[in-house]
Symmetry: D3
Subunit: 117 residues, 6 copies
């Protein structure tokens, strides 16, 4: 796996475990609700849900969330064009303030794709 | 047309005209870019784009933007379940702070649907 | 009950019922998690939790959320001074952009207090 | 004075008085710091400071703050074109999510100008 | 002192000195108001104020502010459980977008605690 | 050129090229609109526009956007005092949550100025 992609995945897992080890009920339920939100079932396909998560993360300008949803979107079969088009909507809704986050998102997407190529 | 839905549409049109009458190039281009963003063409369907615009508007907590995209989503054939599921993603990503906006969104959706029913 | 306080409570209840009637699992769990978050138990008292919810709502500038937590804080015994001091922290952290929300919060607090007086 | 402009000014004054009556030192200092920020003196003219306050308020999407700074900017001699151009920068930086706030800002500007005309 | 905790404290102090060296009255007053906000006195205990500052920082997703208030909260005697519970409220109010910030907050808390242990 | 300033400029250019290489019409237009926004012409001077871009970036807490506008402002002749005063307005409007971003902004400004000195 690409270095940055792997580093992100490892830190994410390590700290999620630390957080869940606190044994706080509210936090645990929020984490499991997070999984449920993007799970199969309901009116929308998983791919669509991941793209919705991506655009929401982009306009809220959370780099890690953006990376996470790009990773998942690629995994469940979203094309590069679908991901870029999703980001273009985030750019227009969220304004030029989104651009620096889009740079890092594009770098992550390039690394994900290189890995898969 | 339902009162609230109609009022919203009329105010929106009246003030957009006032804004465009300023003859400011930057503003005009931003408005036409806004239309282009959700137009047919590209990798995603119009319905998908409207749902992406909806979730972005919901997490940014802009009631008028949410109403607008609900209106468009219904127009281009999104089902009530697809709209509600899109909003559920916005709720989890954006947190309980989104709830009051979801109440107003649901009221608008009910009015749109009543109109169409 | 004071008009504005009552109106807020009624609209809130009516639309929450509409939202829960959608029978969307993600939304339902988020609503029940919201209740759990401020429930008795754990390391903090309910009053402290309500004040934490209040300051979070104020810096995120959600008027309805602020009203809701002021209402609850008063109910569980927070004094006017504790509520105002909580808001003063939100004002400094969030900046002068918070002031218009503080005006509406103060009006709501006045109405809540008048009612109880 | 125009109804909406006057109503805004009256509510603002009434509630500011209520807030300052709480006798909370932190709040009082924040209010006086707010005045100092836009006062004469320093490297920038008052008009420039008001336009900076306006664009900051617009991208943070605070309608009352936007109205307030439009009012002050007009008072200290900003032209309609300067105000509109300032708003165009806020629109591009903040994205289309800013548009509904721009509609209300334009309505307020029209009312301010009508009053002065 | 732990490396990350120390590095943060040193950079913070160095740059605060640079900022205050500008001799800008508005900035200086804002910095001293910041100190006053969390000082002893008033209706709330210092520990409660630090937890309010923490939750406000978390929902606004400012990592440095979160680290700072965790540090202060630990210093003035907040327990690990109180800090985690405070963060759980921020997570529910602010949504899953808060999770990456919670990971870094937890890492900082672990480092603070290791140091003290 | 100073290391941090140069690194920022190089990454920015490299990734902007990657983004524009996607050949997405919406993104391309947003990028060219960004340039148009701060170009000469209209009611405000370029320097004023850059300061407006700076304060908008600061209250939205985008470090890269802040660095970019500081760089441009220095280039088009803004004095250190004008830049600091602009930041002081952002600090008061946006609150203490802005402080960590101001530290990094001041570091960037110091590096820009050292380079020019």
């Amino acid at each position: 796996m690409n270095d940055r992609v792997q580093q992100f995945a490892e830190y994410r897992q390590k700290m999620n475990e630390r957080i869940l080890a606190t044994d706080n009920r509210v936090i645990k339920r929020m984490f499991s609700l997070d999984s449920l939100t993007y799970a199969e079932g309901g009116a929308l396909e998983v791919k669509q849900k991941e793209l919705l998560g991506l655009v929401a993360s982009l306009v809220l300008r959370c780099d890690d969330c953006v990376s996470y949803h790009i990773g998942k979107a690629v995994e469940v079969g979203a094309s590069r064009d679908e991901i870029v088009e999703t980001m273009s909507i985030g750019l227009v809704v969220g304004g030029t303030i989104v651009i620096p986050h889009m740079r890092r998102a594009m770098e992550f997407l390039d690394e994900m794709t290189a890995e898969q190529g």
